[in-house]
Each structure stands twice: as structure tokens, then as C-alpha cells.
């Protein structure tokens, strides 16, 4: 792999990282609006407000960067970057199409993805603690508790796929994919996607940022670009979770078309799942904190274990 | 790669961990120092595994086991710390001397005793 090639791949990943979350965000604006009988942004950019998020970015850039007096300055300022960067690293290893259409193939890609996504939590924790605000601290604590609880079912569901494919490499998993994996891993897909939603703190699992009770959780004190970074990390998270679910459970580039168009399938599945994320946000009310924990420990984890058992049985049966 | 580099790094890290365990008063910080020491051991294990080219990969396997044990340890340790904090209102090991012998309850010996307790827990 030459230097130019590496450079190109990195640039491509950065471009994807900077544009796709915006597309998802704009989709959320519009889809949410229409699901509520509204129109959503209509002015910025002319045609149906397509440039709304660009305008938002400009607005964020103009705002004053406020750091509370009692806050821990350095940690406070560093937190958005810690929250944002892991998702970029994860995007690097998600395969889009067959034959090396991936930023960087990692041997233990699945573990890498889950490990690096776990670091993103630190950003919320740092923000929550460093803001010198009790709501932020509560948000940070809730984030930590929620993330610790939902990491387990997510890992178990991912382990089921790894078990089925016999490899941890993401392209390897896709290489071993057959269409009947979708029904086979259906429970796992549900668990993974739901736990992923909870990891992202998306509604209905948005207890840590529940705006009606603890303002905006860990991000309460943030303004301007740093706040924008947190928002961007949320949407990048949607992208990553959707792409991962598509790759692990829906067969990524596999589809009824020539393989050269595989990347189209990946994108299609990713955006369909992103739409589901938005759809769920509009439809369901927020879970209470105890309901949240109970759901993780008494519903998702047993389901994930069941999926593991099913995977094991089928695997033994077909081999 | 020279084996000395990872070995020396591990030795230094371990010493830093020792300092942390001995010098810290907050229980959580002591636990963190224990983690540092465990990691120094892990580094050694991995380095020697690579050096010996062990066909069983005992070093890496043991590293994985150590990491798992460390995770279990920190979970239990923090549960204990939180319980202590809830009942006693402090996470300061110099003041958790209730199990010590009252005749020897000199302030200098307190941290070591608590560290001993902590080790036993870990």
C-alpha cells in the first residue's frame, strides 16, 4: 500500500466523516418534521432548506466559546475532541465494498470498533465532570451507567456474528455472509441495534441528556463549536452504528446486483437504518432511568445470550 | 527490538505504581495505581512472549487473563469503595483503620495496613 493510497483513503474517510453526519442530520430535520406534520427547515439554501446545517455550523462558529469560571478548563475544552475522534477512527475500518473498499482493514476489526467506540464515552464523562454543574454531573453519571450496561449486550450480539463467521475481521465477516444469516442473526441484530442506540444516547434512550429534566446532561455548559462537536459526534455515531449493523447483520455489500455496485448496497442499508434511528426517536417517549437499566439487564442481555446459543447450535449443526 | 526497552519500561511503570499505592490516600487512586502495576506486568508478559516465541503463547494468554482479572478486581474494588463511602462518608484509607489493632494505631502505619487490606481484596 503506497503512501498516496493511504493518504487518499484517509482523506476519503475524513470527507465521509464530515459530510455523512450532516446528511443524516438534515434527514432527521426533515423526516422528524414530516412525521410531526411540519415541514422543517425551508429557507436556508433555497430548495427545502438543504443548507440548514451549514447555516447552523456558521452560527455555531460565530458564538462565543464560553468556559464556566469554576470549570476545569483543560478537561472541559478537551472533552468534545475525545467524544468526536473515536467515531472517525471507527469509520476507518468499516468496509464499504468488496475488494479493499475500506479505509484500513484491521485483523481484529470487530474488537477494534467496539473498543474504540467505548472511548467516546470518556468525552461525555469528562464534559459532565468538568462543567462544574450538577446537571452535567448527573448527565455524566447517567452516561457512564448507561454505557456500562449496554456495552455488554452489544458485545455479546457482535460476538454472535463473529462466531457465525469464524472471524473478527469485518471484511471477513462479510465474505462469509449468506442471505439466511439475516433471519439467523435477527435477535442479535435487534440487540445490537438497540444497544447501539443506547450507546449513542439517542431517544428513547436519551436519559443522560434528558432535556426536560437535566437540561442537556453533560453538554449543558457547552456553547459554540464545542457544542457542535458533541452534536456532530452524535450524528457520526448514528452513521457508525447504522453502518456497523448493516455490515454485521444485513450483509453490507451483498445484494442482487453486480459486486461492483456493492458500495451502493452498503450505503443504502446504512441510510435505511439511520432512517430507523430517526423514526424511533420521533415515535417513542423517553425511558425512565430504572426502566432503562431493567431493559438492558433483563431483556437485552438474555436475548443476546439466547442468540449466542442459537448461533452455536446452528453452527454445530451445519458443520 | 531490544528486550531491554519493554523490560525497563515495565520496571519503571511498576515502580511508579508502587509509589502510587504507597503515597496515595484516596482509595480510588490506590486502585488506579494497582492498575498501573498490573499493566507493567502485562507489558513484561507480552514482551517476553514475543522474545521466547512460545508456541503456547503463554505470555499473551496470561496477559488476557490478567486483563480479565483486573476488570473483575476493579469492579469489586469499586463496589467496596462505594460501600465504604456510603457507610463512612469518606474514601480516605488513612481513616479506615477500624480493623487495626488499637494499640498499634499509629498514623504512620495506617496507610500500609489499608493497602494490605486492599491487596487482599484485589
Amino acid at each position: 500500500m503506497s503512501l498516496l493510497d493511504t493518504l487518499l483513503r484517509c482523506v476519503a474517510v475524513v470527507v465521509v466523516f464530515l459530510t455523512f453526519p450532516l446528511i443524516i442530520g438534515q434527514t432527521e430535520h426533515k423526516v422528524m418534521a414530516h412525521m410531526q406534520g411540519r415541514l422543517g427547515p425551508m429557507y436556508a439554501g433555497g430548495f427545502h432548506g438543504w443548507a440548514q446545517l451549514v447555516a447552523d455550523g456558521v452560527k455555531f462558529a460565530q458564538k462565543e466559546d464560553v468556559v464556566p469560571l469554576d470549570a476545569d478548563r483543560r478537561v472541559f475544552q478537551l472533552a468534545p475532541a475525545v467524544a468526536l475522534l473515536p467515531y472517525m477512527l471507527v469509520l476507518l475500518v468499516i468496509p464499504v465494498g468488496p475488494e479493499g473498499f475500506v479505509g484500513q482493514a484491521v485483523d481484529a476489526g470487530l474488537i477494534f470498533v467496539l473498543a474504540v467506540m467505548g472511548i467516546g464515552v470518556l468525552g461525555s464523562l469528562m464534559a459532565g465532570w468538568a462543567s462544574a454543574n450538577k446537571f452535567s454531573l448527573l448527565g455524566g453519571l447517567r452516561t457512564a451507567a448507561q454505557l456500562m450496561s449496554y456495552e455488554l449486550p452489544m458485545l455479546l450480539a457482535a460476538a454472535s456474528v463473529a462466531m457465525a463467521a469464524g472471524t473478527l475481521s469485518l471484511p471477513g465477516i462479510l465474505g462469509a455472509f449468506h442471505w439466511w444469516w439475516v433471519p439467523w442473526q435477527l435477535i442479535g441484530a435487534f440487540v445490537f441495534f438497540t444497544a447501539g442506540l443506547a450507546e449513542l444516547q439517542r431517544p428513547p434512550f436519551d436519559m443522560p441528556v434528558a432535556d426536560s429534566e437535566i437540561i442537556f446532561g453533560a453538554y449543558t455548559e457547552y456553547t459554540g463549536l464545542r457544542f457542535a462537536f458533541f452534536l456532530l459526534s452524535e450524528y457520526a455515531g448514528i452513521l457508525v452504528i447504522s453502518a456497523l449493523t448493516a455490515v454485521l447483520f444485513l450483509g453490507g455489500w451483498h445484494g442482487p446486483m453486480p459486486e461492483s455496485l456493492g458500495w451502493l448496497w452498503t450505503l443504502l442499508k446504512t441510510f435505511a437504518l439511520a432512517f430507523v434511528v430517526i423514526w424511533l426517536r420521533v415515535t417513542y417517549p423517553r425511558l425512565r432511568e430504572d426502566q432503562l437499566m431493567r431493559f438492558a439487564w433483563t431483556c437485552l442481555i438474555p436475548l443476546a445470550l439466547l442468540q449466542l446459543a442459537i448461533t452455536g447450535v446452528v453452527k454445530v449443526a451445519i458443520s | 527490538m531490544h528486550l531491554v526497552y519493554p523490560a525497563v519500561l515495565a520496571a519503571l511503570l511498576f515502580s511508579v505504581g508502587v509509589y502510587g499505592v504507597l503515597a496515595r490516600r484516596n482509595v480510588v487512586l490506590v486502585l488506579m495505581s494497582v492498575e498501573l502495576m498490573l499493566n507493567a506486568v502485562n507489558l513484561n508478559l507480552v514482551a517476553f512472549d514475543a522474545w521466547l516465541r512460545d508456541s503456547l503463547h503463554a505470555g499473551q494468554a496470561l496477559t488476557l487473563f490478567t486483563i480479565t482479572v483486573a476488570a473483575a478486581e476493579i469492579g469489586l474494588g469499586l463496589a467496596i469503595v462505594l460501600l465504604v463511602f456510603r457507610t463512612r462518608g469518606t474514601a480516605d484509607i488513612d481513616r479506615l483503620t477500624a480493623l487495626g489493632d488499637p494499640n498499634e494505631d499509629a498514623p504512620e502505619s495506617a496507610p500500609e495496613a489499608a493497602v494490605q487490606n486492599d491487596r487482599a481484596v484485589a
Binding site: 457512564a144 475481521s169 | 527490538m1 525497563v8 498501573l36 499473551q60
Partner: protein, 225 residues
Amino acid sequence: MSLLAAAGSLDPAARSFLSPTGVEIVFLLVGLAVLGSAVISVTTRQLVHAALWLVVALGGLAIEFLLLTAEFVAWVQVLIYLGSVVVLVLFGLMLTKAPIGRSPDANSGNRWVALGVALAAAGTLVTLVVDAFRTSWVDLGAGGGSTRVTGEYLFRYWVLPFEALSVLLLAALVGAIVLSRTGKGRVPKPRAGKLRAGKPVGTNGRAASATTARPTASTPPVQES
């Protein structure tokens, strides 16, 4: 990992400390960062900063594992240490009310003794290690720690310890749950502030529950944190 393979195949004549390979330079730089952040982590008086510097140290160690070709171990390190252990530690620090800024009682009085012990340990260990392994050379072959290799040795030769570990984890899980459960009336309510002076520990829980049971008693009710 082609770089590592190249490093492993260097001939012995080039193995001088004065002409380090690329991997060694990276290892040294990352090692310095790890050591520095570890030192800050055990000396800083700001509790949460200590945990965050620990993150840097542990993350650096993951990179060191990568350089030593233990790829799987490195990712597990990131997953478990950075993703869970440090988050738990931060969680614990927040729950025990870590303040922003310096806490005066982070270090105990025997810092100098501790420093002495640590320096002595460092001196002894480093002398020993340098003396023993001065000429040892690690041949870093690629794939020594890939997932396939890891899986093979873990489930071919180390199955029994692996299973034993699962029992240990289960025990730890149960233990943590038992410890953090607040039974009805048995475990006293959380309270902040100072120790109750002159009260033996054994009766502490009972005393607290007695006060919560009879709020009209002469002892003031327990303050909630």
C-alpha cells in the same frame, strides 16, 4: 505490520543501542509518554486528572502492545481498560465526590518513604533487567498476536484456565451486586460528611438504621448525601 517484519529480520551486527530501528524509536517515544503520564497520574492532586492521565498511560501501553505484535491483546486492552475500567474509575471518583481542582488530602504523609521505596524498587529492577537482558533481541515476526493465533492457543491450550476465569468473573459479578445492593433497612442510608467520632464500626450500621427508624429519637437524623 511489514515494518515490524523488516525490523525482525535485521542482522545481529546492526543490533546496537546507538542505531535503533524505527520500531524501537516509536516504542521509546510512546514509552516516554506512558511513563510521563503514569508519573503525573500518581502525583497529581486533582483526582479526575489522575484518572485521565491513566487513560493516556493505558492507551500508550496498547500502542506498545501493537508494536510488540500482540494485536489482539492491544485491542482487548483498549476495550477493557479504556472502555470499562477507566470509566468505572471515573464513575467511582464522581460518586465519591471528586472536587474540581486540587484536593489537599490526595497524598498521605508518607510520600517521601513511598518515594524512597519506589526509587529503590526502580533502581533494583532496572539494574537487574538491564544486566540480565542487555543482549537479548526480540525478533518481531508479523502475526504473532493476530486473532487467529490468539484463538488457537487460547482455545487449544488454555481452555481450562479460560473457563476458570469465567467462573471468577461470575463470582465477581455476584459479589459486586451483593456489595452494592441496599437491603431493606439493613444497610444504612448514604450520608456525607464526617465520620461519627468514637463510635465502633460494628455498631455503626445498626445505629444508623436505628436513627432512621426512629426519627424522633435524640440523635439527629442521618443526613442524606
